[in-house]
Symmetry: C2
């Protein structure tokens, strides 16, 4: 995977954003996009776009812009999203249910293949309407077995904070590679597991910093 240089975090974030914009463009039938157009849609300046794209060599057509399809291909290759990633969600309350129905996951090859809760009787009826396939919610006692059997690589934690560490431990024992924690509490994982937190207060703090300064 050492085809591309190591990329700064901020660039990774922007690449992810470009990818989303390019998908929107592709859906609208656009085949070619200038850096100016991409910049406009993504709320970035055009010089930044060109600088970011320079990370993976020259492939824009001078005076024409970039091939939307080719650009998507390269960004997905860099990010590692050019293949399916199998995901499990634990904690099917409001947030867990929202994630199960998040349509953009499918667009990006993120496939939720297992869902767990302490109350397995919950059935998210309308998922079947939204993404075409209902998902059975299993009791958390089955996590380790099912995560292994279904080749889950990434675990999402959407439990209340007091449960989050226990769930993280189960995911680690089941050999997931990455954990995304939505529970507003710090959890610990061994260094070979990649952990990312999604704290909604952090997003608001960032917004408020820019409103205040």
């Amino acid at each position: 995977m050492a085809k591309y240089a190591k990329i700064p975090e901020a660039t990774v974030r922007r690449l992810s954003n470009y990818l989303k914009c390019l998908e929107d463009l592709e859906q609208k039938g656009e085949k070619v996009a200038s850096s100016a157009l991409i910049a406009l849609i993504c709320n970035v300046n055009a010089a930044q776009v060109r600088k970011d794209f320079a990370y993976f060599g020259e492939f824009g057509i001078r005076g024409m812009g970039y091939s939307v399809n080719e650009l998507r291909y390269h960004i997905r290759e860099i990010l590692g999203t050019n293949r399916e990633w199998r995901i499990a969600v634990v904690g099917i309350g409001n947030l867990g249910s929202a994630l199960l129905m998040y349509k953009d996951f499918l667009k990006q090859s993120y496939k939720i293949v297992a869902a767990f809760d302490q109350e397995p009787v919950k059935v998210i009826g309308h998922i079947s309407e939204q993404i075409g396939k209902p998902i059975e919610i299993l009791h958390i006692d089955r996590l380790k077995e099912v995560v292994k059997a279904r080749n889950v690589e990434i675990g999402l934690i959407t439990t209340p904070p007091p449960e989050a560490q226990k769930v993280a431990n189960l995911f680690v024992e089941a050999n997931v590679k990455g954990i995304m924690n939505f529970a507003p509490t710090q959890i610990r994982v061994p260094s070979h597991v990649v952990l990312r937190n999604v704290f909604f207060t952090a997003a608001l703090d960032n917004l408020v910093y820019h409103l205040s300064n």
Copy 2:
């Protein structure tokens, strides 16, 4: 507000994370914390912690560490979270409901004072149990009037993607200062309004990048 130097985005993110850790420490009754302890809890290295704290001058006590209370005070002052911010949420589906019940918002002076949906008959019964006070869900037609009357400064959008731009326009007309968009689509706002997107695919892209590289 020019008391502190402009801070890089990555530092803003870490400050927000430190703040969360410090709140956890304070709840546990800790009065003083070393940079090593803060680093451990926040999954950052200690040198990074000391470097970040240097942005707001020297106030650690050599050999003792930092006063948890004082540190919280400074970080909140820098971020601008040292006062109440009044928030409205539009789109009370699963994600909107999750945000209405997000306990950490209150800890950080983020106060949700209005909630809107196209179906105002929805009542989130269990909010009353969770955060002590039920919130009435109003019809979206009342957004402009209510947002102004309740001095809302920040709008959260948790509608389906096709509704997001319309809601953003309403928020702008109602003079909110900042918008946080959770709908997985790009929206546009005038330059005097601060916009932040929370796309769950972006968080997963970042995780996957680190799993792949």
